[in-house]
Protein backbone atom coordinates (compact mmCIF):
# COMPACT_ATOMS: atom_id res chain seq x y z
CA UNK A 1 0.00 0.00 0.00
CA UNK A 2 1.15 3.51 -0.83
CA UNK A 3 -0.17 6.50 1.11
CA UNK A 4 0.34 10.09 0.01
CA UNK A 5 -0.84 12.74 2.51
CA UNK A 6 -0.91 16.48 1.81
CA UNK A 7 2.24 16.02 -0.24
CA UNK A 8 3.66 19.31 -1.52
CA UNK A 9 6.79 20.12 -3.51
CA UNK A 10 7.67 23.71 -4.30
CA UNK A 11 10.57 24.71 -6.51
CA UNK A 12 11.89 28.19 -7.01
CA UNK A 13 9.82 28.51 -10.16
CA UNK A 14 6.53 27.23 -8.78
CA UNK A 15 4.70 24.32 -7.25
CA UNK A 16 5.08 20.86 -8.81
CA UNK A 17 2.97 18.92 -6.31
CA UNK A 18 0.27 20.79 -4.42
CA UNK A 19 -1.32 19.31 -1.27
CA UNK A 20 -1.77 15.92 -2.91
CA UNK A 21 -3.44 13.06 -1.02
CA UNK A 22 -4.35 9.59 -2.27
CA UNK A 23 -3.98 5.95 -1.35
CA UNK A 24 -2.93 3.14 -3.65
CA UNK A 25 -4.52 -0.14 -2.56
CA UNK A 26 -3.07 -3.60 -3.12
CA UNK A 27 -4.64 -6.19 -5.40
CA UNK A 28 -5.37 -3.95 -8.37
CA UNK A 29 -3.56 -1.90 -10.97
CA UNK A 30 -3.86 1.82 -10.24
CA UNK A 31 -3.25 4.15 -13.15
CA UNK A 32 -1.52 7.43 -12.36
CA UNK A 33 -2.59 9.92 -15.00
CA UNK A 34 -2.02 13.55 -15.81
CA UNK A 35 -0.87 15.79 -18.63
CA UNK A 36 2.83 16.42 -19.16
CA UNK A 37 4.18 18.45 -16.27
CA UNK A 38 1.28 17.52 -13.97
CA UNK A 39 3.70 16.32 -11.30
CA UNK A 40 3.53 12.53 -11.76
CA UNK A 41 7.27 11.93 -11.83
CA UNK A 42 7.86 14.40 -9.01
CA UNK A 43 5.29 12.58 -6.88
CA UNK A 44 7.02 9.27 -7.58
CA UNK A 45 10.42 10.75 -6.66
CA UNK A 46 8.92 12.06 -3.41
CA UNK A 47 7.46 8.64 -2.57
CA UNK A 48 10.88 7.06 -3.18
CA UNK A 49 12.65 9.61 -0.98
CA UNK A 50 14.73 10.95 -3.89
CA UNK A 51 13.29 14.45 -3.45
CA UNK A 52 12.42 16.05 -0.15
CA UNK A 53 8.82 17.24 0.21
CA UNK A 54 8.13 20.89 1.08
CA UNK A 55 5.16 19.61 3.08
CA UNK A 56 3.17 16.47 3.79
CA UNK A 57 4.52 12.94 3.57
CA UNK A 58 4.35 9.64 1.71
CA UNK A 59 4.59 6.14 3.14
CA UNK A 60 4.95 2.67 1.71
CA UNK A 61 3.41 -0.12 3.79
CA UNK A 62 3.00 2.49 6.54
CA UNK A 63 6.66 3.56 6.62
CA UNK A 64 8.62 6.31 4.90
CA UNK A 65 10.58 4.78 2.02
CA UNK A 66 13.90 6.09 3.36
CA UNK A 67 13.43 4.13 6.59
CA UNK A 68 13.23 0.76 4.78
CA UNK A 69 16.34 -1.30 5.51
CA UNK A 70 16.27 -3.30 2.24
CA UNK A 71 13.91 -1.16 0.15
CA UNK A 72 14.14 -3.17 -3.08
CA UNK A 73 12.55 -6.14 -1.32
CA UNK A 74 9.52 -3.96 -0.43
CA UNK A 75 9.22 -1.59 -3.39
CA UNK A 76 10.27 -2.06 -7.00
CA UNK A 77 10.40 1.12 -9.05
CA UNK A 78 10.92 1.83 -12.74
CA UNK A 79 11.77 5.46 -13.29
CA UNK A 80 13.68 6.66 -16.34
CA UNK A 81 14.71 3.59 -18.34
CA UNK A 82 17.66 5.58 -19.67
CA UNK A 83 19.29 5.71 -16.23
CA UNK A 84 22.00 3.20 -17.12
CA UNK A 85 25.77 3.36 -17.41
CA UNK A 86 26.50 2.91 -21.15
CA UNK A 87 29.35 0.41 -20.77
CA UNK A 88 27.90 -1.69 -17.95
CA UNK A 89 26.30 -4.97 -19.01
CA UNK A 90 22.69 -5.89 -18.30
CA UNK A 91 23.70 -8.57 -15.81
CA UNK A 92 26.18 -6.33 -13.97
CA UNK A 93 23.52 -3.61 -13.65
CA UNK A 94 21.21 -6.09 -11.95
CA UNK A 95 24.13 -7.48 -9.95
CA UNK A 96 24.98 -4.20 -8.20
CA UNK A 97 21.32 -3.62 -7.43
CA UNK A 98 21.00 -7.14 -5.99
CA UNK A 99 24.20 -6.77 -3.98
CA UNK A 100 23.05 -3.47 -2.47
CA UNK A 101 19.98 -5.13 -0.94
CA UNK A 102 21.38 -8.56 -0.15
CA UNK A 103 19.42 -10.26 -2.93
CA UNK A 104 20.85 -13.59 -4.08
CA UNK A 105 22.60 -14.13 -7.41
CA UNK A 106 20.00 -16.69 -8.51
CA UNK A 107 17.28 -14.04 -8.54
CA UNK A 108 19.15 -12.16 -11.31
CA UNK A 109 18.70 -15.11 -13.65
CA UNK A 110 15.05 -15.37 -12.72
CA UNK A 111 14.19 -11.75 -13.54
CA UNK A 112 16.24 -11.94 -16.76
CA UNK A 113 14.11 -14.91 -17.82
CA UNK A 114 10.87 -13.28 -16.68
CA UNK A 115 11.52 -10.15 -18.75
CA UNK A 116 12.91 -11.88 -21.82
CA UNK A 117 16.34 -10.34 -21.28
CA UNK A 118 18.34 -13.54 -20.69
CA UNK A 119 19.67 -13.50 -24.25
CA UNK A 120 21.16 -10.02 -23.93
CA UNK A 121 22.50 -10.32 -20.36
CA UNK A 122 26.08 -9.69 -21.49
CA UNK A 123 25.27 -6.72 -23.71
CA UNK A 124 26.29 -3.21 -22.72
CA UNK A 125 23.42 -0.91 -21.82
CA UNK A 126 24.24 1.51 -24.65
CA UNK A 127 23.52 -1.17 -27.25
CA UNK A 128 19.98 -1.75 -25.98
CA UNK A 129 16.88 -0.41 -27.71
CA UNK A 130 14.47 1.70 -25.66
CA UNK A 131 12.14 -1.29 -25.44
CA UNK A 132 14.94 -3.46 -24.04
CA UNK A 133 15.85 -0.75 -21.54
CA UNK A 134 12.25 -0.71 -20.35
CA UNK A 135 12.39 -4.48 -19.91
CA UNK A 136 15.64 -4.11 -17.97
CA UNK A 137 13.98 -1.46 -15.81
CA UNK A 138 11.11 -3.87 -15.12
CA UNK A 139 13.63 -6.62 -14.33
CA UNK A 140 15.30 -4.28 -11.84
CA UNK A 141 11.93 -3.45 -10.27
CA UNK A 142 11.10 -7.16 -9.89
CA UNK A 143 14.54 -8.03 -8.48
CA UNK A 144 13.58 -7.93 -4.80
CA UNK A 145 10.20 -9.67 -5.38
CA UNK A 146 8.53 -6.60 -3.87
CA UNK A 147 4.94 -6.25 -2.69
CA UNK A 148 4.71 -2.74 -4.14
CA UNK A 149 5.55 -1.76 -7.73
CA UNK A 150 5.82 1.80 -9.02
CA UNK A 151 6.26 2.03 -12.77
CA UNK A 152 6.71 5.42 -14.45
CA UNK A 153 5.71 5.22 -18.13
CA UNK A 154 6.68 1.55 -18.57
CA UNK A 155 5.01 1.24 -21.97
CA UNK A 156 7.28 3.86 -23.60
CA UNK A 157 9.28 2.38 -26.44
CA UNK A 158 7.80 -1.10 -26.20
CA UNK A 159 6.74 -2.87 -29.38
CA UNK A 160 3.15 -4.21 -29.61
CA UNK A 161 4.26 -7.56 -28.22
CA UNK A 162 5.97 -5.77 -25.34
CA UNK A 163 2.87 -3.72 -24.62
CA UNK A 164 0.75 -6.85 -24.30
CA UNK A 165 3.47 -8.47 -22.19
CA UNK A 166 3.65 -5.65 -19.67
CA UNK A 167 -0.15 -5.39 -19.52
CA UNK A 168 -0.38 -9.06 -18.52
CA UNK A 169 2.57 -8.69 -16.17
CA UNK A 170 1.02 -5.78 -14.27
CA UNK A 171 -2.37 -7.47 -14.04
CA UNK A 172 -0.71 -10.67 -12.88
CA UNK A 173 1.27 -8.85 -10.18
CA UNK A 174 -1.88 -7.14 -8.93
CA UNK A 175 -3.76 -10.46 -8.94
CA UNK A 176 -1.06 -11.84 -6.63
CA UNK A 177 -2.11 -9.18 -4.14
CA UNK A 178 0.61 -6.67 -4.87
CA UNK A 179 0.20 -2.92 -5.03
CA UNK A 180 0.79 -1.67 -8.57
CA UNK A 181 0.97 2.04 -9.43
CA UNK A 182 1.62 2.78 -13.09
CA UNK A 183 1.86 6.19 -14.67
CA UNK A 184 1.15 6.70 -18.32
CA UNK A 185 -0.15 9.21 -20.79
CA UNK A 186 -1.46 6.45 -23.07
CA UNK A 187 -5.15 6.48 -22.20
CA UNK A 188 -6.17 3.55 -24.36
CA UNK A 189 -3.53 1.45 -22.65
CA UNK A 190 -4.62 2.55 -19.18
CA UNK A 191 -8.25 1.78 -20.01
CA UNK A 192 -7.21 -1.81 -20.68
CA UNK A 193 -4.90 -2.19 -17.69
CA UNK A 194 -5.98 -0.03 -14.75
CA UNK A 195 -8.99 -0.78 -12.58
CA UNK A 196 -8.51 2.34 -10.54
CA UNK A 197 -7.29 5.80 -11.50
CA UNK A 198 -5.56 8.66 -9.73
CA UNK A 199 -5.66 11.70 -12.00
CA UNK A 200 -3.66 14.83 -11.27
CA UNK A 201 -3.21 18.18 -12.99
CA UNK A 202 -0.85 20.99 -11.98
CA UNK A 203 0.14 18.94 -8.97
CA UNK A 204 -3.41 18.72 -7.61
CA UNK A 205 -5.71 15.73 -7.35
CA UNK A 206 -8.43 15.82 -10.01
CA UNK A 207 -9.91 12.36 -9.57
CA UNK A 208 -9.43 9.22 -7.46
CA UNK A 209 -11.95 6.69 -8.69
CA UNK A 210 -12.49 3.43 -10.55
CA UNK A 211 -11.78 3.52 -14.26
CA UNK A 212 -15.39 2.63 -15.02
CA UNK A 213 -16.84 5.44 -12.92
CA UNK A 214 -14.32 7.91 -14.28
CA UNK A 215 -15.29 7.27 -17.87
CA UNK A 216 -19.00 7.37 -17.02
CA UNK A 217 -18.72 10.60 -15.02
CA UNK A 218 -16.83 12.45 -17.69
CA UNK A 219 -18.63 11.07 -20.71
CA UNK A 220 -19.47 13.30 -23.62
CA UNK A 221 -22.54 15.56 -23.37
CA UNK A 222 -23.69 14.20 -26.71
CA UNK A 223 -24.16 10.84 -25.06
CA UNK A 224 -21.90 9.10 -27.55
CA UNK A 225 -19.67 6.16 -26.72
CA UNK A 226 -17.36 7.49 -24.04
CA UNK A 227 -13.69 6.62 -23.97
CA UNK A 228 -11.16 7.12 -21.21
CA UNK A 229 -9.24 9.38 -23.54
CA UNK A 230 -12.16 11.73 -24.03
CA UNK A 231 -13.01 11.71 -20.34
CA UNK A 232 -9.42 12.51 -19.51
CA UNK A 233 -9.24 15.37 -22.01
CA UNK A 234 -12.43 16.86 -20.65
CA UNK A 235 -11.24 16.71 -17.06
CA UNK A 236 -7.67 17.88 -17.56
CA UNK A 237 -8.34 20.43 -20.29
CA UNK A 238 -8.08 23.28 -17.81
CA UNK A 239 -4.82 22.13 -16.31
CA UNK A 240 -2.69 21.63 -19.38
CA UNK A 241 0.36 23.71 -18.86
CA UNK A 242 1.28 24.78 -22.39
CA UNK A 243 -2.22 25.88 -23.26
CA UNK A 244 -2.05 29.66 -23.02
CA UNK A 245 0.56 32.35 -23.42
CA UNK A 246 0.81 33.02 -19.71
CA UNK A 247 4.18 31.31 -19.47
CA UNK A 248 5.30 28.40 -17.33
CA UNK A 249 2.57 28.43 -14.75
CA UNK A 250 3.27 24.88 -13.65
CA UNK A 251 6.91 25.47 -12.92
CA UNK A 252 7.60 21.78 -13.08
CA UNK A 253 10.98 20.52 -14.06
Amino acid sequence: MIEVRNLTKRYRGGTAVDDLSFTVEPGRVTGFLGPNGAGKSTTIRLVLGLDRPSGGFATVNGRPYASLERPLTAVGALMDAGDLHPTRSVREHLRWLARSNGIGERRIGEVLEATGMAGVARKHARTLSLGMRQRLGVAAALLGDPGVLILDEPVNGLDPEGVVWIRHLMKGLAAEGRTVLVSSHLMSEMALTAEHLVVIGRGRLLADTSTEDFVAAHAGADGGAASLEEAFMRLTGASVEFRSGSGRSGGVR
Binding site: L50, D80, D83, W96
Partner: protein, 251 residues
Amino acid sequence: MSGFVRAAGAEWVKIRSVRSTVVTLGLFAAVALGLGWVVANGFSAGGPAGDALLPVFFGLLTAQLVLVTFAVAAVGSEFSTGTIRASLAAVPSRGRWFAAKMTAIGVTVAVAALAVEMAVYGLVTSVIGDDAAPLTEWWTIEALLGGWIHLTLLSVFTACVAVVLRSTVVTLSVLLPVLFLSGQGLGNLEAIRPVVQYFPDQVGMVVMHMTRPGDPQFGRDYGPWEGIAILVLWTAAALVGGWLAMRRRDV
Protein backbone atom coordinates in the same frame (compact mmCIF):
# COMPACT_ATOMS: atom_id res chain seq x y z
CA MET B 1 25.58 -8.56 6.62
CA SER B 2 25.27 -4.92 7.53
CA GLY B 3 23.73 -2.32 5.27
CA PHE B 4 27.05 -0.59 4.81
CA VAL B 5 28.82 -3.78 3.70
CA ARG B 6 26.01 -4.48 1.18
CA ALA B 7 26.21 -0.92 -0.15
CA ALA B 8 30.01 -1.01 -0.42
CA GLY B 9 29.79 -4.36 -2.22
CA ALA B 10 27.37 -2.84 -4.72
CA GLU B 11 29.71 0.11 -5.29
CA TRP B 12 32.58 -2.30 -5.93
CA VAL B 13 30.47 -4.14 -8.54
CA LYS B 14 29.82 -0.77 -10.22
CA ILE B 15 33.53 0.08 -10.33
CA ARG B 16 34.67 -3.23 -11.77
CA SER B 17 31.85 -3.51 -14.30
CA VAL B 18 32.61 -0.46 -16.47
CA ARG B 19 35.23 -0.08 -19.15
CA SER B 20 36.53 3.29 -17.95
CA THR B 21 37.96 1.66 -14.81
CA VAL B 22 40.26 -0.58 -16.84
CA VAL B 23 41.16 2.26 -19.20
CA THR B 24 41.99 4.87 -16.54
CA LEU B 25 43.83 2.57 -14.15
CA GLY B 26 45.73 0.99 -17.06
CA LEU B 27 46.71 4.44 -18.34
CA PHE B 28 47.76 5.45 -14.82
CA ALA B 29 50.16 2.49 -14.71
CA ALA B 30 51.45 3.09 -18.24
CA VAL B 31 52.17 6.81 -17.72
CA ALA B 32 53.80 6.24 -14.32
CA LEU B 33 56.02 3.44 -15.62
CA GLY B 34 56.82 5.17 -18.92
CA LEU B 35 57.83 8.51 -17.41
CA GLY B 36 59.65 6.78 -14.55
CA TRP B 37 61.70 4.85 -17.09
CA VAL B 38 62.49 7.95 -19.18
CA VAL B 39 63.59 10.04 -16.19
CA ALA B 40 65.54 7.16 -14.68
CA ASN B 41 67.52 6.85 -17.93
CA GLY B 42 68.50 10.51 -17.70
CA PHE B 43 69.43 10.25 -14.04
CA SER B 44 72.99 11.00 -12.98
CA ALA B 45 74.19 10.42 -9.44
CA GLY B 46 76.05 13.08 -7.51
CA GLY B 47 73.34 15.08 -5.75
CA PRO B 48 71.75 14.23 -2.40
CA ALA B 49 70.90 10.54 -2.02
CA GLY B 50 67.18 11.37 -1.92
CA ASP B 51 67.36 12.57 -5.54
CA ALA B 52 67.34 8.93 -6.61
CA LEU B 53 63.61 8.99 -5.77
CA LEU B 54 62.94 11.74 -8.31
CA PRO B 55 62.36 9.37 -11.27
CA VAL B 56 59.93 7.31 -9.16
CA PHE B 57 57.76 10.23 -8.13
CA PHE B 58 58.06 12.31 -11.29
CA GLY B 59 56.24 9.54 -13.15
CA LEU B 60 53.71 8.90 -10.38
CA LEU B 61 52.88 12.57 -9.82
CA THR B 62 52.21 13.10 -13.52
CA ALA B 63 50.16 9.89 -13.72
CA GLN B 64 48.13 10.97 -10.69
CA LEU B 65 46.10 13.15 -13.06
CA VAL B 66 44.79 9.94 -14.64
CA LEU B 67 44.20 8.34 -11.24
CA VAL B 68 42.22 11.38 -10.17
CA THR B 69 40.19 11.10 -13.38
CA PHE B 70 39.22 7.56 -12.36
CA ALA B 71 38.06 8.70 -8.92
CA VAL B 72 36.13 11.67 -10.29
CA ALA B 73 34.50 9.63 -13.07
CA ALA B 74 33.39 6.95 -10.58
CA VAL B 75 31.30 9.65 -8.91
CA GLY B 76 30.48 11.82 -11.91
CA SER B 77 29.06 8.94 -13.98
CA GLU B 78 26.35 8.46 -11.33
CA PHE B 79 25.08 11.93 -12.05
CA SER B 80 25.69 12.03 -15.83
CA THR B 81 23.97 8.68 -16.48
CA GLY B 82 21.18 9.11 -13.93
CA THR B 83 22.10 5.91 -12.08
CA ILE B 84 22.23 8.06 -8.92
CA ARG B 85 18.42 7.72 -8.77
CA ALA B 86 18.60 3.92 -8.81
CA SER B 87 21.50 4.06 -6.35
CA LEU B 88 19.61 6.10 -3.79
CA ALA B 89 16.41 4.12 -4.32
CA ALA B 90 18.46 1.01 -3.45
CA VAL B 91 20.35 2.69 -0.59
CA PRO B 92 18.11 5.49 0.71
CA SER B 93 20.44 6.48 3.55
CA ARG B 94 22.49 9.25 1.96
CA GLY B 95 25.26 8.93 4.53
CA ARG B 96 25.52 5.18 4.00
CA TRP B 97 25.62 5.54 0.22
CA PHE B 98 28.30 8.24 0.42
CA ALA B 99 30.43 6.22 2.85
CA ALA B 100 30.09 3.13 0.65
CA LYS B 101 31.02 5.06 -2.51
CA MET B 102 34.09 6.65 -0.92
CA THR B 103 35.20 3.34 0.60
CA ALA B 104 34.95 1.52 -2.72
CA ILE B 105 36.85 4.27 -4.55
CA GLY B 106 39.42 4.64 -1.76
CA VAL B 107 40.19 0.92 -1.53
CA THR B 108 40.40 0.56 -5.33
CA VAL B 109 42.77 3.52 -5.60
CA ALA B 110 44.85 2.34 -2.64
CA VAL B 111 45.40 -1.08 -4.20
CA ALA B 112 46.13 0.34 -7.66
CA ALA B 113 48.46 3.06 -6.32
CA LEU B 114 50.45 0.63 -4.17
CA ALA B 115 50.88 -1.87 -7.01
CA VAL B 116 51.91 0.78 -9.54
CA GLU B 117 54.20 2.58 -7.09
CA MET B 118 56.06 -0.66 -6.30
CA ALA B 119 56.31 -1.46 -10.01
CA VAL B 120 57.69 2.00 -10.81
CA TYR B 121 60.16 1.74 -7.92
CA GLY B 122 61.31 -1.65 -9.18
CA LEU B 123 61.68 -0.36 -12.74
CA VAL B 124 63.59 2.78 -11.71
CA THR B 125 65.87 0.76 -9.42
CA SER B 126 66.72 -1.67 -12.20
CA VAL B 127 67.59 1.24 -14.54
CA ILE B 128 69.64 3.29 -12.04
CA GLY B 129 71.42 0.30 -10.51
CA ASP B 130 73.78 0.92 -7.59
CA ASP B 131 72.80 4.59 -7.15
CA ALA B 132 69.09 3.77 -6.64
CA ALA B 133 67.32 4.55 -3.38
CA PRO B 134 67.74 1.42 -1.26
CA LEU B 135 64.77 -0.21 0.44
CA THR B 136 67.01 -0.80 3.45
CA GLU B 137 66.94 2.94 4.22
CA TRP B 138 64.06 4.41 6.22
CA TRP B 139 63.83 7.52 4.01
CA THR B 140 63.09 5.31 1.00
CA ILE B 141 60.36 3.41 2.81
CA GLU B 142 59.03 6.68 4.26
CA ALA B 143 58.84 8.25 0.81
CA LEU B 144 57.08 5.25 -0.76
CA LEU B 145 54.65 5.04 2.15
CA GLY B 146 53.98 8.80 2.01
CA GLY B 147 53.57 8.70 -1.77
CA TRP B 148 51.05 5.90 -1.50
CA ILE B 149 49.04 7.79 1.12
CA HIS B 150 49.26 10.96 -1.01
CA LEU B 151 47.89 9.25 -4.14
CA THR B 152 45.09 7.55 -2.22
CA LEU B 153 43.92 10.52 -0.16
CA LEU B 154 44.19 12.97 -3.04
CA SER B 155 41.91 10.69 -5.10
CA VAL B 156 39.35 10.48 -2.29
CA PHE B 157 39.55 14.26 -1.93
CA THR B 158 38.75 14.77 -5.62
CA ALA B 159 35.94 12.19 -5.48
CA CYS B 160 34.37 14.25 -2.68
CA VAL B 161 34.66 17.39 -4.78
CA ALA B 162 32.88 15.51 -7.58
CA VAL B 163 30.02 14.66 -5.19
CA VAL B 164 29.64 18.36 -4.40
CA LEU B 165 29.85 19.47 -8.04
CA ARG B 166 27.87 16.46 -9.40
CA SER B 167 29.81 16.35 -12.67
CA THR B 168 32.93 14.71 -14.03
CA VAL B 169 33.63 17.49 -16.51
CA VAL B 170 33.13 20.40 -14.12
CA THR B 171 35.18 18.72 -11.40
CA LEU B 172 38.10 17.96 -13.71
CA SER B 173 37.94 21.48 -15.16
CA VAL B 174 38.36 22.89 -11.66
CA LEU B 175 40.85 20.39 -10.30
CA LEU B 176 43.21 19.51 -13.14
CA PRO B 177 44.61 23.05 -13.51
CA VAL B 178 45.16 23.13 -9.75
CA LEU B 179 46.81 19.72 -9.82
CA PHE B 180 49.01 20.85 -12.71
CA LEU B 181 50.50 23.43 -10.35
CA SER B 182 52.83 20.76 -9.07
CA GLY B 183 53.78 19.66 -12.57
CA GLN B 184 54.50 23.25 -13.55
CA GLY B 185 56.42 23.89 -10.35
CA LEU B 186 54.20 26.85 -9.53
CA GLY B 187 54.16 25.74 -5.92
CA ASN B 188 57.79 26.88 -5.76
CA LEU B 189 57.26 30.45 -6.96
CA GLU B 190 58.21 32.89 -4.22
CA ALA B 191 55.13 35.08 -4.54
CA ILE B 192 52.47 32.38 -4.14
CA ARG B 193 54.35 29.71 -2.23
CA PRO B 194 53.20 30.81 1.26
CA VAL B 195 49.63 29.85 0.28
CA VAL B 196 49.99 27.31 -2.51
CA GLN B 197 52.33 25.09 -0.48
CA TYR B 198 49.32 24.10 1.64
CA PHE B 199 47.19 22.98 -1.31
CA PRO B 200 46.22 19.30 -1.13
CA ASP B 201 48.38 18.30 -4.10
CA GLN B 202 51.43 20.08 -2.61
CA VAL B 203 51.54 18.85 0.96
CA GLY B 204 52.85 15.39 0.04
CA MET B 205 55.93 16.77 -1.75
CA VAL B 206 58.20 16.77 1.28
CA VAL B 207 57.68 13.13 2.20
CA MET B 208 58.28 12.14 -1.44
CA HIS B 209 61.57 14.10 -1.45
CA MET B 210 60.34 16.36 -4.26
CA THR B 211 61.22 19.25 -1.95
CA ARG B 212 62.48 19.62 1.59
CA PRO B 213 61.97 21.99 4.51
CA GLY B 214 64.41 24.90 4.68
CA ASP B 215 65.48 24.77 1.02
CA PRO B 216 65.75 28.40 -0.16
CA GLN B 217 63.92 27.77 -3.43
CA PHE B 218 61.80 24.68 -2.98
CA GLY B 219 61.39 24.89 0.80
CA ARG B 220 58.24 24.17 2.74
CA ASP B 221 57.20 25.38 6.16
CA TYR B 222 56.34 21.85 7.31
CA GLY B 223 58.00 18.46 7.60
CA PRO B 224 57.20 15.24 5.70
CA TRP B 225 54.55 13.85 8.06
CA GLU B 226 53.17 17.25 8.93
CA GLY B 227 52.49 17.53 5.20
CA ILE B 228 50.63 14.21 5.20
CA ALA B 229 48.70 15.33 8.27
CA ILE B 230 47.60 18.44 6.36
CA LEU B 231 46.44 16.18 3.50
CA VAL B 232 44.45 14.12 6.01
CA LEU B 233 42.77 17.33 7.15
CA TRP B 234 41.97 18.31 3.54
CA THR B 235 40.46 14.87 2.93
CA ALA B 236 38.44 14.98 6.15
CA ALA B 237 37.10 18.40 5.23
CA ALA B 238 36.17 17.16 1.74
CA LEU B 239 34.40 14.12 3.22
CA VAL B 240 32.35 16.38 5.48
CA GLY B 241 31.58 18.67 2.52
CA GLY B 242 30.51 15.74 0.34
CA TRP B 243 28.32 14.31 3.07
CA LEU B 244 26.65 17.68 3.70
CA ALA B 245 26.03 18.08 -0.04
CA MET B 246 24.42 14.63 -0.30
CA ARG B 247 22.42 14.81 2.89
CA ARG B 248 19.51 16.96 1.78
CA ARG B 249 19.80 17.13 -1.98
CA ASP B 250 17.07 16.20 -4.46
CA VAL B 251 18.30 13.93 -7.23
